[in-house]
Amino acid sequence: MKAKTSATLRAFVVELAVYAVFVTGYFFLVLHFLAGWLQELHLHHVKTYALVAIVLIIGQAVVLESITTWLFRLLRGGRSE
């Protein structure tokens, strides 16, 4: 039982580390390039901005959910939970 718990914890730490690398890259690449465009939309085209905001947050949610599920499976030998 103890061995199983420590293996789960180890897998979780690895997941967090891999995920942190993904997220750091994401901050610097995607958000850096999007900021100017989004600010322009926010100031001059609010309706488009509102639509883009929803598409972005849902799109990111779907992508990140897929990444985390894939990481869970990869590091736990096919089990997702």
Binding site: L31, Q39, I58, Q60, A61
Partner: protein, 308 residues
């Protein structure tokens, strides 16, 4: 990190950490977590209007992740979620109109504060009584399961006789919810429950999961695990509507929401997966502090005049 839309400097690590915490709570309890996100964003200097709108946008993303995970675990009743979304949006509009009326009358802060404290404390008191009673019944009736997790999805409530009476209330059209194990229930009861949730969401702010999740369990008779998953699914629709409305008014910094969501995405998965290891009454008992935290924040605001 500089966020040009709201003209603010906030650490991305702080945002991701807050997102993670709210993600775990949201995935486990099916709540939006505005009572933490709002004060946490205000604490780093974000204007109140941006804190409210940005939090809603972040809730959409977090709920997508958690609802997807709950759906994979069989915890989402899509039919119920779609019906509830209609009532929630209607209720949210009426709640927002009520706030406008109170603003014109000049006593919005006191009325909203008193109502919210009464609601939060009532929900917590009722849930602690019901969950404790149900756990005592279970303890007396059968020996503890020796295999961990086997009893996790079995759900019982000492309030179930009242729930059955509500389900017997025949007002056309009656619909069935096979995913939730409800044979027949009036559509109007579902609309009323979601309308009340939406009303509180529009009146008090946030997603109002602290009132909708208990009502799903106690009024509609939805098993706790399904109530959590379905509430999250319904939040996607109603929070998207709220985000759009706030974004048009210039209250959403989507860049902040995207950064918060990177933490929430992993937290929501952990929270959702964790529900498998707890039985319904234990989830409900663990839910009790959430409305009390909300009440404490309102009391603090009322006494000091500082809006958290």
């Amino acid at each position: 990190m500089f966020f040009p839309i709201s003209n603010s400097h906030i650490s991305p690590v702080y945002l991701a950490a807050i997102g993670f915490l709210i993600g775990v709570l949201g995935g486990f309890f099916g709540v939006g977590g505005s009572f933490i996100a709002g004060p946490a964003l205000r604490a780093v200097g974000l204007d109140w209007n941006f804190a409210v709108g940005t939090d809603l946008a972040h809730i959409v993303g977090k709920s997508v992740v958690a609802a997807k995970r709950h759906r994979a675990l069989g915890n989402v009743d899509l039919r119920l979620g779609f019906i509830m979304a209609i009532g929630t949006m209607g209720g949210a509009e009426v709640g927002a109109q009520l706030i406008q009326m109170l603003k014109r009358a000049g006593n919005v802060n006191l009325v909203v504060s008193v109502v919210s404290i009464a609601i939060y404390v009532s929900i917590s008191s009722f849930m602690i009584w019901e969950a404790w009673r149900t756990l005592q019944f279970q303890k007396k009736r059968r020996p503890r399961s020796k295999v961990p997790g086997t009893a996790a999805k079995q759900d019982e409530s000492s309030f179930s006789h009242r729930t059955a009476a509500i389900q017997r209330f025949h007002l056309w059209p009656m619909i069935s919810l096979p995913t939730s194990g409800v044979k027949a229930i009036s559509l109007w009861v579902i609309i009323l429950v979601s309308f009340i949730g939406g009303l509180f969401s529009g009146f008090l702010g946030g997603g109002a999961g602290y009132i909708r999740m208990p009502m799903l369990v106690y009024v509609l008779g939805i098993p706790t695990h399904l109530a959590v998953g379905t509430d999250l699914f319904e939040i996607i629709i109603s929070a998207s509507y709220g985000t759009f409305s706030h974004a048009i008014k210039g209250n959403v910094d989507i860049l902040i929401a995207l950064v918060m969501h990177t933490g929430a995405a992993i937290g929501a998965q952990i929270g959702a997966i964790s529900t498998q290891y707890f039985a319904g009454p234990k989830i409900r008992l663990a839910f009790v502090p959430l409305p009390l935290i909300g009440a404490a924040i309102v009391i603090y605001t009322l006494m000091t005049g500082h809006k958290l």
